[in-house]
Structures are given as C-alpha cells and as structure tokens.
C-alpha cells in the first residue's frame, strides 16, 4: 500500500495547540528578532525514518490486452469518487514523415476538439490534451459513475477522429509566440539551435489535409495506443467495456505503424553569433540560454537526472539567493524519450540583471563539469531523495496517477522495466558519474542566449555589484568552454 495513498482523504486540521510557557530571555542574534527558543529537538540529520515500504500497483495484475490487441492499465480503487480514462499515443513532431511537417499539431488539436464534442457541451469532465515531441496524452477525469461515457468518448475519438479535409481546413504551421513572457525566448532558442523536428517547422508553411490523415492513421491504431483506466471503476467492467468498444477496430490497410525519426540531436546547429536579442517593450527581460543536446545513453540517464537536480539548486542559489537577480532560474532538460533536444536555462529579470544572469548561468553549467564542481555528498543525497522518494513515488501515487504513468511509459519505452528500475539506478549514481555526465552532455562552449526585452534599457543598465554588459556576453559565451 502506498505510503502516500489518500485513504479516504483522512483529514486532520490542527489549529495549533499552544502553551503559555515563556522563552528564555537571551541575546538576540543578528537577523533574528526574538530571543532564541531553546529546545532539545534532534537535529534533522539525527532523525531516523523507517522505510515507508512504498510499492506501486502490481503491473502484472493491472495490464489488460483486449482481443483486438489494445493494451490498457486498469487499476481499481473502490474508495475513489473519481475515475480517469486516458490514452497515450505515439504522436508528435518526431513521428511526422517527410512532407508532413506541422501535421502533428493539427491532429492533436482536432482530437481535443472531437473529444470535447463527444463528451458533450457542459459535461462534468476534466479534459486534458498535451503533446510532446514523441508522445501525446488525452485524458478525461470524471465522477466515478460517468466512467463509461468518458471511455466511450475517448475510444470513439481515437477510432473516428474525423480528420477529414473539411475538418482540417487549410492550416499553416504556427510561428513562435509574440511579445514577452517565459515561452518566447525558449521558442526562439529552439529555432536557433535546432532544425526540424527538434524545432517546429518554419512558420506559415501549409499543412496538407492528406498529411494530417496519414499521420493520424499511423498513430491512431489499436496496437499502438495504450490506455489507462483507474479510480472508482470495477476492473472487470472496464475490461469488458474496452473489449466491446475496441472490437473490430483494425489497423488501416498496409498496417503502417508510427515510426519515430532518428535522434533529434542530428539536427542541432551552433550559432555563429551566440547572443540574440529581441526588442519588446516592458521593464522585464526574458532569457533562455542553452544548446541542443545529444540523446542520452541509457546508462547515463540516472546520472543526468541527478546532475539536473544539483544544477537547478546551484543556479537558484547563485542567481536568486546570493545576488537577487531573479525570482527564479530553471534548468530544463529535453522531454523526448531519447533525451535529445534543447538543454536550457530559462529565467527573467530587470534590465541590470540580464548580463549577470547569463554569466552566472554559464558559470554554473561550466562548474558542474569540473573537479571543483563535483557534487558533495549532501547534494547527492538531496538530489537522490528528491528523485526517488519524491518524484518517482509521486508519479505512482494512487490508482489514477499510476495508471497514467504506466500507459505513458509503455508508449515511451515499450515496457515498465526502466520505470521500475529507476530508484535503484538513481541510488547507484556517484559523484564521478555526475561529473562525467556533465562533461558529456553540457557543452558550455556551444551555448546560445536569447534575450527578449527592451534592449536599449538592457544595454544601458549596469548592475552595481555584478556588472556584465550586453557587449561582453558573446565573448563570455564563446569562451565558456575554457577552464
């Protein structure tokens, strides 16, 4: 049983019990306004916690394969007042064939519209449709008694997606978002350092209806889609309904399966000019600094994940906690299954922060590759705890989340082997592994930065304590690989 399981949402609201004892009068420390409260509580390092005994739902008892070959993870939880039905589909830019650029966006948009139509206007349903480079997720969360209507709508959407020329219309590939905001520099950076399909196709190119239909036919097949059904639904009923809803669902003639393109890193490119500025009015600047990243070797995945955790904390200590340059800086790794894509830091700040933010981001990315920058034992423990006890357990916490994770993982990797071995892989990572992963996957010398903001103000600004001018940044970026 999961330690995080919400057991009928046992609820404790605990207004604080307070006693009227008095603190010892004592010296007030700098940065501290009250007398120190003396206590004999153990130091956090002395706290000993039992193994919570977390066990995810047994995959062997959860996988169902229908007579027609459709796979589904069905996990029942009688106490759950809700039900989730979802489908993981091998669909995204990476699955577009030659001449189909832009078709994935159109297919996903039409699937979302069709699903909403079939559920009906005003339905009590939480619908989510999301797309990554090589994976699309459609999910519907409903009251438990509505699970069959939701499953019916979802299967019908995938079987009869309605990708007709009239529904498709004459779409064109979208360009990067306009204006400021956190997504703009990332979209621009992706286009600068990656070629299609890592980057979106050129904006404005027409998307042909037959491309949309062909991509849809390859992706939406009973043998490629994996379902997740969970919550307050009887497993036997769900299996029977799925069998009925998918009966006689056959692949199209020729049985063309969705095939992902080779590693997206092959399409990387390094910019001659490492700094790109985009003028937008406003007093905030939005930044992205990064480069295209090679696919991650399977054996390196855990070390890269630990590295990213550590770099993220260091980034925020350097830029936010010590210097107050920004509210937040984030290292983001590619989401594609093979790990290839855009490695980047995204952040924002006032004009005087732009130069130092880029400088310190580059320094943090460079330092983790060096001997001096190797992670400490504490950093390793924190990162490993966050990844295993934190995120991994969270992704498998409760029936609905577990079924969705299992379905997504099945489409991504074909099995749950990687998922189930993840905690052990993370726990085995050493400081040397992290340093080696950093040297292999972070290349400070090929970083490109995009600044979206009021460039004349940024150019004129100087941080009084850590001044870095816009003019200094290209040299700083290109010299970053030097020790």
């Amino acid at each position: 049983m999961s330690a995080r399981t919400i057991a009928a949402a046992a609820l404790v609201a605990l207004p604080l019990v307070t006693l009227s004892c008095t603190a010892d009068a004592g010296d007030v420390l700098p940065g501290h306004s009250r007398p120190v409260f003396e206590h004999d509580w153990p130091h956090p390092r002395e706290l000993e916690f039992e193994d919570g005994g977390f066990q995810p739902a047994d995959p062997a008892r959860s996988l169902v394969v229908t007579a027609g070959g459709t796979r589904a993870w069905i996990i029942e939880d009688h106490a759950d007042p809700l039900a989730l039905v979802m489908a993981a589909v091998p669909l995204g830019r990476q699955y577009e064939a030659d001449g189909e650029a832009g078709a994935a966006d159109v297919v996903v948009r039409l699937l979302g519209r069709r699903l909403s139509e079939l559920l009906g206007a005003g339905a009590a349903a939480g619908v989510q449709v999301s797309q990554e480079l090589d994976l699309t997720r459609l999910s519907v969360e409903v009251l438990a008694e509505d699970w069959l209507e939701a499953l019916t709508a979802l299967v019908r959407t995938l079987r009869e997606p309605g990708l007709t020329p009239s529904a498709v219309g004459t779409p064109r590939a979208a360009g990067p978002p306009a204006g400021g905001g956190a997504t703009r520099p990332v979209a621009e950076l992706t286009r600068l350092v990656g070629r299609y399909p890592l980057a979106p196709p050129d904006s404005g190119i027409p998307v042909r209806p037959e491309s949309v239909r062909n991509l849809g036919e390859r992706a939406l097949q009973p043998g490629t889609i994996v379902f997740g059904i969970a919550g307050g639904v009887a497993a036997a009923d769900a299996e029977a309904a799925l069998n009925e809803l998918t009966s006689a669902w056959t692949p199209p003639p020729g049985n063309m399966r969705a095939t992902a393109r080779p590693a997206t890193f092959a399409a990387a490119r390094t910019q001659a000019d490492p700094l790109h500025t985009i003028d937008e009015p406003g007093f905030m600047s939005w930044l992205a600094v990064g480069h295209a990243m090679a696919p991650i070797e399977r054996a390196d995945e855990a070390a890269v994940a630990v590295m990213a955790e550590i770099v993220n904390i260091r980034l925020n200590i350097e830029t936010r906690e010590i210097r107050g340059l920004t509210n937040r800086a984030l290292l983001v790794l590619p989401a594609a299954t093979d790990g290839a894509g855009l490695l980047h830091v995204r952040t924002s700040g006032r004009s005087e922060s732009v130069g130092p933010l880029i400088r310190h981001s580059v320094e943090v990315l460079s330092r983790i590759r060096t001997e001096d920058g190797a992670p400490t034992d504490e950093e390793l423990q924190q990162a490993k705890g966050g990844l295993t006890l934190g995120r991994w357990q969270d992704s498998l916490d409760g029936a609905r989340r577990t079924a969705a994770t299992y379905a997504l993982e099945t489409v991504r990797r074909g099995s749950l082997d990687h998922l189930m071995a993840w905690p052990a892989a993370v726990r085995a990572v050493t400081a040397e592994d992290v340093s080696a992963a950093a040297r292999r996957y972070i290349d400070p010398g090929s970083l490109t930065a995009v600044v979206v903001g009021q460039i004349d103000a940024v150019r004129a600004a100087r941080h009084p304590r850590w001044p870095v001018t816009l003019e200094e940044l290209p040299t700083l970026l290109r010299q970053a690989h030097r020790p």
Binding site: A13, P15, L19, S33, P44, G122, L143, G385
Partner: protein
C-alpha cells in the same frame, strides 16, 4: 555580519571616494566570504533529502497568496516528523539571512506582477473594486513600497504574523489525529504563545459604492470586456450561490454563450468565476473578442446574460448540470491531499476551516429561488465595475510600457 548593517542603500548611488571605494571592496569581499560559508535552503534541502515535494513550484519553498503565506510540503507519511521538526523551529528561531538579495527577489515578483502583458491591467482593475480591504490596495504593491522593505519592517512582520497563534496546520493523508497529535505536542506544543496578531487583519466589507465603475484601459492589450460584481466573502451565507452562478454562466452551453453567439458579437472565448479572497469578493464575467470594434456588442451581451439569473429564469436541467460540474470540482479537491490541505488553509484564513464543509454543502443545495434572490441583490448596476482592454486604444498610454514603474 556584513548583512546586518540594518539599512538598505541602492549601491548604484553610493558616494564615491578613494576611502569609500576601498570600504566597498572590503564589504564585497566579506559578503563573498559569507556566501561561501552560508548554508542555503537548509530546510528545503532536508525536505528534498526525505522525499518532500513543494506544492508551489520547486525550488521555491513557500508561497504567498493575497491573504496568507503557505508552506506546503508533500512528504512520504513515514517522514512526517521532519515537517514538525523544521517548521516549529522556523516559526520561532528563523534567522533572516540574505536580506538584500531577497529584497530584490521580491522586487522581481513585483515587476512580474506589473508586466504590461495583463499584469498591470489586472492590478489596476482589482484596485477599483474596493478600497478598504487590503487585497484591493494594489495587491502586488506599489513601486514606492520597495523603499520600505527594510530589515526592521521585515523582522516586525515576522514577529507579528509568523507566530503559533496565527497559524493553522492542515495535514491530509493516510494519517490519524492520534498519530500527529504526539508530534504536534512534541514540537509546536512547546512554542510560546505570542502576542495576538494585529487586529486590522479582519476588515468588514464596505458598502456598495452606489454607482457603476468603468475602467477603459489605454495600454494596448487583447480586446476583452470584463464585468465584475462585488459579492460577499467566504463565511457569508450568500457566498456559495455565486460558485453556482459562475458555473451557470460558463462553458459552451452556459448563459453567457447564448447572447454572445446568437447576436454574432464576435466573441471568441468567454467564462465566469467567483473569487474567494477579500471582502467583498468578486464575480467576474469576461469575454474576449476578435476585434476592438466588437467590444460594444460583447459588453451588451455580457450584461444581458445576467438577466435570466435575476428573473429566476434558470431551468432545473441547467442547474443540475452546473451542480454536477461543481461536484466534480469538489471531488478533485477532496481526493487530492495537497489541494484539500491548501483549501482548508484558504478557508481557515478567509473565515474558519469548518466553513469548508458548510460552504460545499450549501453549494450543492442551491435552488433557482436562491439564485434569483442573490442575483437580484448583488448583480445590480450600482454594484458593478466594467473594464475594457483594446488592441489599439485611443489615446494610447505608450510611455507606461517602457519605463520601470518607479520612474513614472
């Protein structure tokens, strides 16, 4: 100790002389040395070590709403003691380090809230809704406030508000009161009671202003109309009905859809929501148009959509669908422990935590007559504010977009 000098100077304006420059260099050396020896985010990293996930967004350990500060942690049940150990200590023994950097971090939040892309408009619109309750006093703060964020006032806020008798713990999960009671007694139960927090935290709702307020925003934004009404805050018996009203208005089959689409107003999206912060709170109806020229028609349609509510013209079938969506909404809160804990905290601050149950029960039981009654009382022109934004406003408030707020 270099961080303890107790005052803030804008370093860009420091006077210059050989002696002062030398002192400045020495100060910076000491600051750098201190940074090397300081432990950053100690509590946060203990949480991470033991599987804690911050509900806000990693790596930020705490977040602030309009009326509260939250520290929200999702921990494996077996590691729950860590929460009590760290938070009890933080409540009485926190040492506020890195003050000047944090000042700028908050300043970055302020700039973000005041961005030309919707932020400045939202703050300004909130500001015309009411004047007494503090959430309407420009919730993101004014640029001039930055000058007052000194060490003394920050420590005073810590002393006034971060005290046991102003805190509520909400713990949700596979745990029992007995299990956590021992931990509560061991840690929080030993903390000394502090003076009561400032009485000004409770603010009575001000009377309606007696006239409609209009805000035509002149910085360029997307074409949109928002109609707002002041409604009672959480705890008032009339408040739950407004969640139902917002549901009735929203969606492709809602009451807003009918006049917006049948009149071909050019509206491309619309919705309604009822806020739960402040007193009064707000019922907002908004619709986005494709063109500035469509705004007049969109505004007329939004006002028309309210009329069936005031006439009792809501049919039972429509009300039933709205109730069903609200039930889903509640179960999504109830079945996700982080959502539930956070909602308990919200109600605890807005009124008291027990109101949570009665609020949702009343919401389920709202009738057509109840809707008619509250609509007739609150959805009236003299309790209303209307705001428009345009892509090409005339005249255009150009200069506001390019200057930092304090320069204005």
């Amino acid at each position: 100790m270099v961080r303890e000098r107790g005052i803030f100077f804008d370093e860009a304006e420091w006077p210059t002389s050989a002696k002062l420059d030398s002192l400045r260099r020495r100060l910076y050396e000491l600051e750098d040395e201190q940074s090397k020896n300081r432990i950053f985010w100690e509590e946060y990293n203990w949480y991470r070590r033991w599987g804690g996930l911050m509900r806000h967004t990693d790596p930020v350990p705490a977040n602030t709403g309009n009326e509260l500060l939250r520290i929200e942690v999702d921990l494996p049940k077996s590691n729950l003691e860590l929460f009590f150990r760290l938070e009890a200590d933080r409540m009485v023994n926190a040492v506020l380090r890195g003050f000047e950097a944090q000042r700028f971090t908050v300043y970055e939040q302020f700039l973000n809230l005041n961005r030309p892309e919707t932020g400045r408009f939202s703050e300004a619109f909130n500001g015309v809704m009411a004047v007494v309750h503090p959430i309407y006093l420009h919730p993101g703060g004014h640029a001039r406030d930055h000058a007052w964020w000194d060490r003394v006032s920050t420590l005073r806020i810590y002393d006034d508000y971060i005290v046991p008798n102003n805190a509520t713990l909400a713990l949700v999960g596979a745990i029992s009161v007995g299990e956590v009671g021992a931990l509560a007694a061991k840690y929080f139960g030993r903390l000394p009671r502090a003076p009561e927090p400032p009485a000004r935290m409770d603010v009575e709702a001000e009377p309606p202003p007696g006239g409609s307020v209009r805000l035509d925003w002149l910085e360029p934004l997307f074409p949109q109309v928002t109609v707002r009404y002041r409604i009672p805050g959480v705890g008032h018996p009339d408040r739950p009905a407004f969640d139902v009203i917002a549901q009735l208005l929203s969606g492709p089959d809602g009451l807003l859809a009918s006049p917006l689409t049948s009149r071909r107003t050019g509206a491309v999206s619309w919705g309604a929501n009822a806020s739960r912060t402040g007193s009064p709170a707000r019922l907002s109806l908004q619709a986005r148009a494709g063109r500035d020229e469509d705004l007049a028609g969109v505004e007329a349609a939004l006002l028309e959509a309210v009329e069936p509510l005031r006439r009792g013209g809501v049919d039972e079938a429509r009300l039933g669908r709205a109730r069903r969506r609200l039930r889903l909404d509640w179960e999504r809160v109830h079945s996700q422990r982080g959502n539930l804990a956070s909602t308990i905290g919200d109600f605890s601050v807005a009124d008291e935590w027990r109101t949570l149950r009665s609020f949702y029960e009343q919401r389920e039981a709202v009738t057509v007559e109840e809707i008619r009654r509250v609509a007739d009382r609150y959805l009236v022109p003299w309790n209303r504010a209307i705001a428009t934004t345009r892509r090409n406003p005339t005249p255009r408030a150009e200069a506001n977009l390019t200057r930092v707020p304090e320069d204005r």
